[in-house]
Amino acid sequence: MNTWRSSNASTQNKKMKNNNVIEVENLTKKFGDFTAVNSITFEVKKGEIFGFLGANGAGKTTAIKMLIGISKPTSGKAQVAGFNVFTHPEGLKKNIGYMSQKFALYDDLTVKENITFFGGIYGLSRAKIKEKRSELVEELSLEDIVNELVGSLPLGWKQKISFSVALLHEPKIVFLDEPTGGVDPITRRQFWEMIYKASNSGTTIFVTTHYMDEAEYCDRVSIMVDGKIEALDTPKKLKEHYKADNMNEVFLKLARGPSPALPEGKGANN
């Protein structure tokens, strides 16, 4: 099962205490006089599935951009996969995986070419790419479509391949930004089984979603409202605390702050 990622445990990062792979303290991002992310603090442990929820415009995308090293925070501290986001964003990028719904794979390259391309980008050797590629083809039963253009595949397939590609270089953390939007319900579940599998072998999963049933699959969930983390706990405890039957109710109770007419759209690109 998932043998192509078995070396992960041995590459465990030693810089961070308590097995944390993400440590964020008072992280803030301002655009002019607009505070998109307002002093957020949290940790994520190795192997954890961490759900990062919030309404459109709450600041999720801005926060993720800081955590993956492509947007410089205004203030605060953040350590991701052992790298400081202020001082070592390049080292950070090599040690994480990222996948979003908007940009996943190149439509006009074949499945095989995409794997080879991203393997190269992540600095894997030719031999290693070849090895990974055959493992991936077997794992996802891609034999029949490996030479097809990615653009011709159904969305669900693209997303499953894209997730595997984000894991090619055995990152400590994978950031998934709405990976299952629009995907059919069966494939959506297969996708989550892949997430469980990766987490089970030690990879940390940082995921955003608008499907509240998926929030229940996470070990812990944070809910952002107007740039702040308003709640952070296991789904079970959140439901108890907000006296809700499911995460959808928790979200509805929390996610719309008192002032819906805030100047949205300045920061995060929703």
Binding site: G54, A55, N56, G57, A58, Q101, P154, L155, G156, E178, G181, G182, V183, D184, P185, I186, T187, R189, W192, E193, Y196, K197, S199, N200, H210, Y211, M212, D213, E216, Y217, P235, K236, N246, M247, N248, F251, L252, A255, R256, A261, E264, G265, K266, N270
Partner: protein, 300 residues
């Protein structure tokens, strides 16, 4: 009959996007096309809004033929495409004025129809559309699609990528529009929204799987579904899939939905099997069927 679709098919090169689809929507009905990306929903919308010709079949909208009477249809329907298609460089107010003018009307003339929606974005009427948030773009697009008081409203995935709070608000807006006598055809990949429609068509790979009210569709699900829970979700799924009598195993929120191949399934037996496989805090309870269960069964 507000919309009538008879044996419509449409292919693009090798791909059959819509394959012999027929359905009818009554006047004043809120009808949902429910299916994932690539099911053919957008192609159906484009045929009905006269932007594509079908390869085969016929269709009418508001009594007009989609080929012969395309000009009448364009004057009588509102269409909100899945992709944001307003002018990004025009302001909120300019976009709305533009669409009103094109249809030979004014914002004032049909203001009561869009009022509920428009007042939410009116504070930003001088902002360029491109600088709006997702939720506000959606409200502006809906206002523009309504400004000429259409008989039929086509909404292609209006809530995709929209957070649960905004989705809820959007559906409340749709219900109010329906009460004003507008027929609405809406598509969505979110199965929980199906239950908010009067009738739905479940669609996948260009084919309609079933058409009925959400209640009837749920009623026809052939099996009893059990919620199963245990401490380790990943191991639980693996164990259930290894259980020889399992029919389907799907994670569903905090539970796994389990169905058994046998008519006379006894949950006690599964409980013992899971306990023997070292699962802790096992809980098995019969549960209600959802549209999503039905969809997955039909799409199998």
């Amino acid at each position: 009959m507000s919309i009538s679709v008879q044996h419509i098919s449409k292919s693009f090169k090798k791909v059959t996007a819509v394959n012999d689809v027929s359905f009818e929507v009554n006047e004043g009905e809120l009808f949902g096309l429910i299916g994932p990306d690539g099911a053919g929903k957008t192609t159906i919308f484009r045929i009905l809004t006269t932007l594509f010709f079908a390869d085969k079949g016929t269709a009418t909208v508001a009594g007009f033929d989609v080929v012969a009477d395309y000009k009448e249809i364009r004057n009588n329907v509102g269409y909100m495409p899945g992709k944001f298609s307003l002018y990004q460089d025009l302001t909120v107010k300019e976009n709305l004025d533009f669409f009103a003018t094109i249809f030979g009307t004014t914002i004032e003339e049909n203001y009561d129809l869009i009022k509920d929606i428009y007042i939410q974005i009116e504070p930003f009427k001088k902002r360029r559309a491109g600088a709006l948030s997702g939720g506000m773009k959606q409200k502006l697009a809906l206002s523009c699609a309504l400004i000429h008081k259409p008989k039929v409203l086509f909404l292609d995935e209006p809530t995709t990528g929209v957070d649960p709070v905004s989705r809820k608000e959007f559906w409340e807006m749709l219900k109010r529009l329906q009460q004003k006598g507008i027929t609405i055809l809406v598509s969505t990949p979110y199965m929980d929204e199906a239950e908010l429609c009067d009738r739905i068509a479940l669609i996948q790979h260009g084919k309609i799987l079933q058409i009925d009210t959400p209640q009837e569709i749920i009623k026809h699900y052939p099996k009893k579904i059990y919620d199963v829970r245990a401490d380790n979700m990943y191991r639980l799924i693996e164990s259930l899939k290894s259980f020889e009598h399992h029919y389907s195993v799907y994670p569903f929120g905090e539970f796994v939905h389990y169905t058994d191949k046998r008519e006379d399934f006894n949950p006690q037996e599964l409980q013992q099997y899971l306990a023997a496989n070292d699962h802790q805090n096992i809980k098995i309870e019969i549960t209600k069927t959802t549209i999503e269960d039905t969809f997955m069964e039909l799409a199998k």
